[in-house]
Symmetry: C2
Subunit: 428 residues, 2 copies
């Protein structure tokens, strides 16, 4: 963890280093992924079975390729009732939030008599990737599947690896709640390639979303263009802007909730109170040892954590914008005043009673958010990622006479005579 203060003479240099630090794994996976993707494209299910045997250590022809809906329902029904209710509440709230994202069509006729519009449609088929093993999160199933369902996608195929053949029942239960259509026991770059190209068993989809390791992320990147993808994702991060009147243990837990995800995660506190900064650092040290995730959280906090003391909370905001964080908490009395000045952040949590984790699960907004400063130009996952827009035009002889000559002039100057002719013929 580093400690900075905007009053330090070297602050600019040190903060710039923090902004530019790359936390993304640089493993040279691109070549491996190219090989895997080409194999699945050319050999389909046979390649899928071979890679699954190699990486996930089970034989799909023995364990089964697909997990049937009866098994998802059984997994859901076997859950502790409180957990079942929690999943149902989360699903209902996520659906309600995403319903409001459905875009409106337009269809108008302007003064020149030109009819102009745009019409939105759902994509036909989506694939969602859900990691297997330890980091198998039912919340990821809900956050990826529900926007697709709200968009009106007809076919929703989930792929998830089952290392050593072991299925994660929480993920199955979430698939049941989120109403996916298919669950396939495949993972890694090979599963992404199967969804993109289609195989004998798995039909191709149009858009692929969902979290994954470096191989999965690279496969999505390589296949972007053949299919749509959600985003290029990196390690998770949180920035907390807090005054000295917060409880240090609350803020410490918020910082650790990000740190416990992965050693490459990042947690940063901005505060205008140096005593509070020290108290939070102490609370982090106190809490960290109690966590079952202590090893990961400590690695992340040690390597990537930061506490930055500013002269005022307002002074922190332009610094936050440079970080363009995935998650931003504004823990103070008038969070709206600060929020009004924030430009780049994936999701913002206002006030002292809005811990970031509430947004990970049940509040409603999507937890798939831009990382690595990408909030400068991209947004969290939404219904729009599963829809596309068709623009349309309709002219009649009068409206074509009004605007056609300008098109003819521009086409001629661009050296495109057939463009000009297609308009000019209709002007005679």
């Amino acid at each position: 963890m580093i400690r900075l203060s905007t009053s330090d003479p070297a602050f600019d240099r040190d903060f710039t280093a923090l902004v530019n630090a790359r936390r993304e794994v640089d493993a040279d996976v691109a070549r491996d992924v190219r090989t895997i993707v080409a194999s699945v494209r050319d050999e389909g299910d046979a390649a899928l079975a071979a890679f699954t045997k190699k990486f996930d250590k089970h034989d799909l022809n023995e364990t089964g390729w697909r997990i049937e809906k009866s098994e998802w329902r059984a997994a859901y029904e076997a859950l502790d009732p409180a957990l079942r209710e929690a999943l149902d509440l989360a699903a209902a709230r996520i659906a309600a939030y995403h319903e409001k994202q459905r875009p409106a069509d337009s269809d108008t006729t302007d003064a020149a008599g030109v009819r102009l519009g745009a019409r939105w449609n759902a994509i036909a088929a989506a694939g969602i990737y859900i990691p297997g093993g330890r980091a198998a999160y039912p919340s990821s199933v809900l956050m990826n599947a529900i926007p697709a369902r709200v968009a009106g996608v007809e076919r929703l195929a989930m792929v998830t690896p089952t290392p050593n053949g072991e299925v994660n029942p929480l993920v199955l239960a979430a698939a049941y709640v989120a109403k996916v259509d298919e669950v396939w026991r495949v993972g890694g770059a090979q599963a992404i390639a199967a969804l993109a190209y289609g195989t004998g068993r798995i039909a191709a989809v149009d858009v692929i979303t969902g979290p994954g390791n470096a191989w999965v992320a690279e496969a999505k990147r390589q296949l972007y263009g053949l299919v749509g993808i959600d985003m290029v994702a990196g390690p998770s991060e949180i920035v907390v802007v807090a005054d000295g009147r917060n409880r240090p243990d609350w803020i410490a837990a918020d910082l650790l909730s990000q740190a416990e995800h992965d050693p490459t995660s990042q947690s940063i506190l901005f505060t205008d109170d140096a005593d509070f900064a020290r108290a939070v650092a102490a609370a982090v040290d106190e809490q960290i040892g109690e966590l079952s995730t202590a090893k990961v959280a400590r690695a992340s906090w040690d390597a990537n954590g930061a506490i930055i003391v500013t002269a005022s909370l307002e002074e922190a905001i332009p610094l936050v914008d440079r970080l363009a964080p995935e998650h931003l908490e504004l823990a103070c009395d008038d969070p709206q005043a600060l929020f009004d000045r924030v430009r780049h952040a994936g999701s913002v949590f206002l006030g002292r009673h809005t811990p970031e984790a509430i947004g990970d699960y049940v509040a409603g907004p999507n937890h798939v958010l831009p990382t690595g400063r990408r909030a400068r130009f991209s947004s969290g996952l939404s219904v729009l990622d599963f829809m596309k827009r068709t623009s349309f035009l309709q002219l009649d002889p009068a409206s074509l006479a009004a605007i056609g000559p300008a098109a003819v002039a521009l086409a001629e100057t661009e050296g495109l005579p057939a463009h000009a002719k297609s308009v000019a013929l209709r002007l005679d």
Copy 2:
């Protein structure tokens, strides 16, 4: 040009071959582009000058790096008045159409007392790429720059190669009309890398859009994630669905307006009238020789053109959906009835008096559209490509008490104790 009929026994096989035909250039440019991108990242302006000397055959330190606004204005003022008016009309109509795309923010409080919302902001800086030389289109400047301006982007940098140092005055005039902020005389993969990483002279941008050759497209693909990009673009295409009551010469001109772009372009006619099909084929042959673009148009039409006779116009629609064309004309008496059944198309042109070319220039909708069947999952360029959404949440003790326990249950089951603790501490 191939001729198919849905009544042929081999139709399914032949049409599937047409759908799956790859028209994209397979040149192995990825390695070259990686080298160029790395050089610009590491050596900045020096690499930019060296690549410009090599590929564009001029010395930036002699010709100048930047073209000043006074030159754009001079280019605009030197235009033929009719052309100036055509550019102004196009810009005004494009701006009017895109104004309606500005998304609405949301901010509501639900029954549980949870405040939920989403706020849209423009990205800070955009870069647009405009090809130089023959295929330098002022319309591309308008179509890329105006949505960015409408979005509220503060800094809009245009890059365009000037082969042998020659500047295209039409492109400069369009830059003046579209109110870009900077014009740089650089092109190719090196210009994309300069915009993405920034160099001593050219500041980095957040999003890069605009057409380009295979090197430019590959550079955008490689840098996607560091910056946002518009899309992975391929050769242009048009599908025309027309009954026998159209003028064959009109429809022939429409088909040729796509064919004249590039030998890889594709033009396809669906009609329910075999006589009309023959008449259009004859009209294409008649018109093609008269075009200054004859060589390109003939290469495209011979290699990729198709005329498909169907039993009815309705029968054509599911086939059109399989092609998911960039441009679709519906030339018949009741185009709306057909349009209601279309699902996958970039832009649709309704009726006999709406040639596709009117949309390329002055109608208003964007002419940057998904190609190569990507209309299944992506949309034309819009104001949204230059904006991003921040979701937000605000809870108070009562609303956190209502939904917090579900978050704690889910966090615990996912094995993330700090997530659970950050909520649970606030429930005490």
